[in-house]
């Protein structure tokens, strides 16, 4: 048993798990505050990063592009809340989900219509002079003698970003008044309105924030897989992550991401022989989620669905 190899695989899995959880966090944020399963999360990633990339390619500098892209996402979030979510507020969750499916489709077409359908590479180290963005990997053996593995610096950067995002969001939800309002809204939005919580403002904030998270996640993903519509597939992979972690839990999204990331890598390496084919990772993540959910239908940290009769 090649332990070093195993560790390398695990670390790789963890890193890719972090990437998944970045997408998952956006989902969870919206679900936690409105009960809506936002299918458009992936297309938001695409739209955000495509906007950013087009700007930088046209010579606009990094920080300005970032700022403008973030601004556009905020506007998008507010518009979505106003024209898609609000009119549907009194319908059931299935309808809202389908609306996000519609939103996703629209956004997929719109992003590529406005900008284009080409693949755009993104290398943030060209813009930011931070050591961590340097594409060269870290040789762990420099630090721990027997650990002969390579960890791309970028993965460490991504993990740090994801980690800080979690901390900020967790703090936000638990400690601030707005966070409390968001939790109240997600529990029962009629009741929240009855106590004077401005529902529409809250939702607009949530969608705007999710847009920004999508921008961050989109950029990190783009660095790895370039900006193109295949970015949307990142969402499809993030789904089992969220569902394992529980739709209502932000830490759950992280844990779920790590579980899926590691599980996928391990499955691919060790189980591919058993099943005689590659591409096993396609469905393996989903199977893991399925097994999990059968035993815990609300996910690891999700709130248990209590139905009263």
């Amino acid at each position: 048993m090649d332990w070093v190899y195993l560790i390398e695989v695990l670390v790789g899995g963890l890193m890719s798990g972090v990437m998944y959880s970045l997408v998952a966090i956006g989902f969870v944020l919206i679900y936690k505050s409105s009960g809506i399963f936002n299918f458009a999360q992936g297309t938001m990633l695409l739209f955000a990063s495509l906007t950013f990339v087009k700007m930088t390619e046209n010579g606009i500098d990094f920080w300005t592009s970032l700022f403008i892209a973030a601004g556009i996402m905020v506007i998008f979030g507010v518009v979505t809340e106003r024209y898609v979510i609000r009119p549907l507020a009194n319908q059931d969750l299935l309808a809202l989900f389908m609306a996000t499916v519609g939103l996703a489709t629209f956004q997929e077409g719109f992003s590529q219509f406005i900008w284009d359908s080409d693949v755009h590479g993104l290398q943030m180290s060209k813009f930011l002079d931070i050591g961590l963005l340097d594409p060269a990997p870290i040789f762990m053996s420099d630090h721990v003698p027997w650990l002969d593995i390579l960890i791309p610096k970028f993965d460490i950067f991504a993990s740090l970003v994801a980690g800080s995002l979690i901390v900020v969001l967790a703090f936000f939800f638990q400690k601030t008044k707005t966070g409390l309002s968001l939790r109240a809204v997600s529990d029962d939005h009629m009741a929240a309105m009855a106590v004077g919580i401005p529902l529409q403002t809250v939702w607009a904030v949530v969608w705007a924030v999710t847009g920004i998270i999508a921008l961050v996640a989109g950029l990190l993903w783009a660095e790895r897989v370039s900006v193109s519509f295949t970015l949307i597939e990142a969402v499809m992979k993030a789904l089992p992550v969220i569902l394992i972690g529980g739709l209502t839990s932000i830490p759950g999204a992280i844990v779920g991401g790590l579980v899926i990331g590691v599980g996928e890598k391990l499955g691919e390496i060790y189980l591919a022989d058993v099943f005689g084919g590659q591409g096993i990772e396609l469905w393996f993540a989903y199977f893991m989620a399925l097994m999990f959910l059968v035993f815990r239908p609300q996910g690891m940290f999700g709130e248990k669905l209590i139905e009263r009769v």
Binding site: A99, G102, E108, L239, L247, Y286, P297
Partner: protein, 364 residues
């Protein structure tokens, strides 16, 4: 006005359950059937092969998805996976079972049953898992089925290109073609087979909707705890819905490969096809069989019409990327707009129109 309810008295419960109660409707349906069976087969090959037959295939899949998602409330993104099972099943049955025992219509239905069984397996988690979490199971089905047929080349008869063209001999049903002097591989014959299957299965679905089984499905969708309190077996209803729905999708997949494209090809059955059918379902209206057909026609034809408009009016200004993107934008807008204004989709819009017609010229 001909379109009136007056004079239409229901004298027994059978009459109350008629699908087309108004005389006008009955006449239209009969004329429609005559048109479909007698006139359409004589239209151009292009029309049949590029418009009619594919719509029959995807429309049937939409009806299938409707039974699962629209009637029973079980969200599914695995539609294309189940279609894939049907297509591959039909191919392998035709290839490997001796000709004397197997023919295309039979193979289509049998492979539908395979698809149905696969559906039941992936539907088992639905007993425990509810709501959005269930997406995992159907997506697992979608990806697993794809991977499965991709990995085991036996299913494609070791065809290295990954695509199998369907041999002409597969189209003849026990020599019927020779007997009637008709080219069974020709589009009119293919069309008629697809039409018969689609009409038959749509009729079946419509009956199901209005029957006890249909009501059980809907009760599971609306309030499953109350349903079980009334004696309805919720697990049984869910699994049955999966079976029937995936049966429809399997047959639709067989029709798509055999009667439309003429190839068995994994690329046809990827996850975006599942989404397309979901769009057809939502736009057409959940819970309505006729809605599924309307939705299918709209989603299928829109890009074609849009391209034609581009060619005709703007001199070919719209390339494929533009068409695809605009189509997606249109689908998205339609879905959202319909959900806001008319959640019942095109079917509800149509029903409202008919209602207004019945009242015309009075507003209500």
């Amino acid at each position: 006005m001909i379109y009136r309810e007056t004079g239409n008295f229901v004298t027994n419960y059978f009459k109350d359950r008629e699908i087309f109660p108004l005389k006008f409707d009955k006449v239209v349906v009969i004329l429609g059937l005559l048109y479909l069976f007698l006139y359409v087969p004589t239209t151009s090959e292009y029309f049949l092969s590029a418009h009619v037959i594919p719509i029959l295939a995807v429309g049937l899949a939409t009806v299938g998805l409707n039974i699962l998602t629209g009637l029973t409330g079980q969200l599914s993104l695995g539609t294309a996976g189940f279609m894939c099972v049907g297509a591959f099943g039909t191919y392998n049955l035709m290839l490997r079972v001796p000709d004397a025992l197997m023919s295309l219509p039979f193979a289509l239905l049998l492979s539908g049953i395979f698809a149905g069984l696969v559906g039941v397996i992936f539907g088992l988690p639905a007993i425990r898992i509810k709501g959005f979490y269930l997406l995992v199971s159907t997506l697992a089905a979608q990806y697993f089925v794809w991977w499965f047929f991709n990995s085991y080349a036996w299913f494609l008869n070791y065809e290295s290109s990954g695509v199998v063209a369907i041999a002409p001999k597969f189209y003849d049903y026990w020599g019927l073609g020779n007997f009637l002097g008709v080219d069974m591989q020709g589009y009119p014959a293919r069309y008629l087979l697809a039409l018969v299957i689609c009409i038959g299965l749509s009729y079946f679905a419509k009956n199901l909707l209005r029957s006890n089984t249909g009501r059980n499905f809907m009760s599971v969708r609306d309030r499953d705890i109350a349903a079980s309190v009334m004696g309805i077996s919720v697990p049984k209803a869910k699994l049955l819905a999966f079976f029937i729905s995936c049966f429809y999708c399997g047959v639709a997949g067989g029709i798509y490969s055999f009667l439309y494209i003429g190839n068995v090809d994994l690329m046809i059955y990827e996850v975006d096809r599942s989404f397309t059918i979901l769009f057809m379902l939502i736009i057409g209206g959940l819970g309505s069989i006729s809605g599924s057909w309307l939705g299918a026609i709209f989603v299928y034809e829109f890009p074609i019409i849009f391209t034609w408009v581009g060619d005709f009016i703007f001199q070919g200004a719209f390339n494929t990327a533009v068409v695809e993107n605009v189509s997606n934008m249109v689908y998205g807008v339609f879905i959202i707009a319909l959900l806001i204004r008319e959640p019942g989709g095109f079917a509800a819009l149509w029903a409202t129109t008919k209602q207004k017609l019945r009242m015309w010229p009075y507003p209500h």
